[in-house]
């Protein structure tokens, strides 16, 4: 009755606050465990928000809650892996809700593949991105800007949650992100790991719409899924159908 088992629905949520996107993910994970939906990739863009992973350190947040409010930045503690990160306009945020049990039961592999999709998409813009051992994410080597020698900057971040091999959370790729917001989570102002964006690397403007389809394409290829764009309305309908009859089942 559902699309066949290699299908992956791609749903573009557009600009959506972190909270509602998180709720939708939770519902999708429950539905995915019940096989009520196929694999789903949510794409979205968040208004300014700082999120802290389960193992994150609160002290990595430099700004006070007062300052965050003043700057219009939300703060959420959340259940993904990884530490603290920032999401905001100009970023492609992807939340793959995949049943890894049907793809490959290997979280390390999964994370490397997310990186791979973004590395390949970046290469299409003539930018060579790569990995750094022990530092999950997508990195670009930038030339020396002073005494620090060769430096790498982070183009995309990854943080994943897994429940019975169903994935949630995912990746955040900086297309034209205002990088100054990352300063809010760099303590001491001592430059160490800096964030970068595709726009900054290219030196000219580039839109999310130019980048997102490429990442989607590579994810489909890598995970062997057939990517099908589906509207949010359709997704909601299917979810509600699944949720209504078993009102109190699930988590």
């Amino acid at each position: 009755m559902m699309a066949h088992d290699k299908a992956c629905w791609v749903v573009d949520l557009g600009l959506i606050q972190y909270g509602p996107a998180f709720d939708l993910q939770r519902r999708l994970v429950a539905a995915r465990k019940a096989a009520a939906v196929p694999d789903v990739l949510l794409l979205c863009e968040h208004p300014h928000v700082i999120t802290l992973g389960r193992n994150g350190h609160q002290e990595n947040l430099l700004a006070s809650s007062h300052l965050l409010r003043q700057m219009g930045v939300e703060f959420h503690a959340t259940n993904r892996g990884g530490d603290i990160t920032y999401h905001g306009p100009g970023q492609i945020v992807g939340y793959p809700i995949l049943n890894l049990a049907a793809i490959r039961r290997d979280v390390a592999w999964y994370v490397r593949q997310l990186e791979e999709a973004m590395i390949r998409a970046t290469a299409e813009f003539g930018i060579e991105a790569g990995r750094k051992a022990g530092l999950t994410g997508v990195w670009v080597d930038v030339s020396s800007d002073g005494v620090n020698g060769q430096a790498s900057e982070k183009l995309a971040a990854i943080g994943v949650h897994l429940s019975r091999w169903v994935t949630s959370h995912g990746f955040a790729y900086n297309v034209s992100t205002d990088l100054r917001y990352f300063d809010l989570i760099v303590p001491c102002g001592i430059p160490d790991k800096r964030a970068t964006s595709l726009e900054r690397l290219l030196g000219h403007a580039v839109s999310r719409e130019e980048v997102a389809p490429r990442i989607v394409g590579h994810l489909g290829e890598i995970f062997g899924r057939e990517m099908q764009f589906v509207s949010r309305e359709t997704l909601e309908e299917v979810l509600q159908e699944h949720e209504t009859p078993v009102a109190h089942a699930g988590v």
Binding site: H57, S64, G137, S144, S163, R164, K193
Partner: protein, 461 residues
């Protein structure tokens, strides 16, 4: 009947996991497949469902501990009976010698079929003759993770001589750590019965080390092998992120900038008198406390104007001369150190400086500094004197090329006009980057500051 709860393998290249949270307490009931605990590996958090229904009888591995896969982390009692026990506090991690007990395969083994039985534990080796190398099934090649291979390399350990207790005879991190601790397979087999009670705890910096990359790595190097640090009674605490940043910055600064130190002293009897006279009035009329810091900043600005090299940064073979005098003031915090910056100190009058310092210090202590307020400093001042230090020789705060250290102000007998007089004196120290600042400049710069302090003429109100 009891069911062992094991650390599942979450991927082919993953041989250990960290328990981040137990979702049930000992004694609590749990349903089969209900989330029981959470683990983290790499950037992934995963909830692990319970392999059986019953009561969580025992937690063997507590939150924050990292253990090899297949380790029994807890026990579920299907009958719901039995006293609940908790693992010892994480201060003595990995003390238990039963990581590899392979219970019946359970649902929690989501990853794969059970790996081949582990190699015999080191203990039986004693019976078989202490010199016998451990049996490893099948292949000659030692299976191990990159971390283990790195540890082996760094400690000159021959991996083939380390008994592997991990899945399939793999040499786990714990194996290599005990090999390192035991003086290891550096040629000789580690003694089968080590007398030490606990293996070396997981490196507190381990995770962050990986996180911080090559450059910062230097900050967390050890001068001696780790096993020489753990003796007697100890506790181990991870560095806070701020502490790690400070460590990195200091190592980097010392590595990049050849530090030279010059010492001078100034007679601040006049300033002490001035402050004592004016401090009540100053506080009454401005609402700000009157401290000595604005005097020193003013003097430093005079020095920087006269010797712009001291107010520069080094970019490769270029010297960046800063037109602004943005003075970083080191503020000691209970949890570390931060250097907020008084921007454009050259444009501020005395009161403006005093207000800026009070404001920055107060907000530094309440964690309300904005990122830009700790950036773009061109010179810095630190004041070990407030803690009674006679003088200090500070590390340069990058990307500055010099930092002024202030000693404590105290009365000392000094020679004035061939007579011994009691004067309020302060030691001034300058740490500077000899790549661009030479001793001649440094001492003239200090002379300027000294002269300005000793011949103060500006009004402070």
């Amino acid at each position: 009947m009891s069911t062992n709860v094991i650390m599942p393998q979450m991927g082919e290249s993953i041989f250990e996991g960290t328990i981040t949270k137990w979702l049930k307490k000992p004694g609590e009931k749990v349903e089969r497949d209900e989330p029981l605990f959470e683990i983290s590996t790499d950037k992934v958090d995963a909830e692990i469902p319970s392999p059986a229904a019953g009561v969580l009888k025992e937690i063997k591995v507590s939150e924050g501990q990292t253990v090899p896969i297949q380790t029994v982390v807890g026990v579920i009692d299907a009958d719901g009976a039995g006293a609940a026990t908790v693992a010892p506090a994480p201060a003595k991690p990995q003390a238990k010698e039963e990581p590899m007990h392979l219970g019946e395969p359970t649902k929690a083994e989501m990853a794969k079929p059970a790996p081949p039985a582990p190699a015999p534990r080191p203990a039986p080796v004693a019976a078989a003759g202490a010199s016998a190398p451990p049996q490893r099934p099948g292949t000659e090649k030692v299976r191990s993770s990159p971390l283990v291979r790195r540890l082996a390399r760094e400690n000159s350990i021959d991996l083939t001589q380390v008994p592997g207790t991990g899945a399939g005879g793999r040499v786990s991190k714990r194996d290599i750590l005990s090999a390192i601790e035991g003086g290891g397979a550096r040629g000789q087999q580690a003694p089968a019965s080590a007398s030490r009670p606990a293996a070396v705890p997981p490196p507190a910096a381990g995770a962050s080390q990986a996180r911080l990359g090559e450059q910062a790595h230097a900050a967390f190097e050890s001068a001696v092998p780790r096993e020489r640090m753990y003796f007697g009674n100890y506790s181990v605490e991870p560095m806070s992120v701020m502490r790690q940043k400070i460590a990195e910055h200091m190592v980097l600064s010392k590595r990049v900038s050849p530090h030279v130190y010059s010492i001078d002293e100034a007679d601040v009897t006049g300033l002490v008198k001035l402050r004592n006279q004016k401090k009540d009035e100053f506080e009454r009329t401005t609402g700000s406390k009157l401290t000595f810091m604005p005097f020193f900043i003013r003097a430093a600005v005079e020095g920087l104007r006269a010797f712009p090299t001291v107010n520069s940064s080094v970019d490769g073979t270029n010297i960046v001369y800063h037109r602004e005098c943005n003075i970083g003031i080191a503020v000691a915090l209970d949890w570390g150190l931060i250097v907020p910056v008084v921007k454009n100190a050259e444009e501020k009058n005395f009161l403006g400086l005093q207000r800026a310092i009070n404001d920055l210090a107060e907000r530094a202590r309440s964690k309300r500094l904005k990122p830009e307020e700790v950036q773009e400093g061109t010179f810095s001042i630190t004041n070990p004197g407030v803690f009674g230090g006679l003088m200090g020789l500070p590390v340069i705060s990058q990307p500055n090329v010099a930092i002024l250290g202030l000693g404590t102000i105290e009365k000392r007998p000094v020679v004035v006009d061939d007579a011994i007089a009691i004067r309020s004196m302060v030691y001034l120290t300058l740490s500077y980057d000899h790549r661009v600042v030479d001793g001649a400049i440094a001492h003239q710069f200090m002379g300027k500051i000294k002269h300005f302090l000793e011949n103060w003429t500006e009004s402070i109100l």
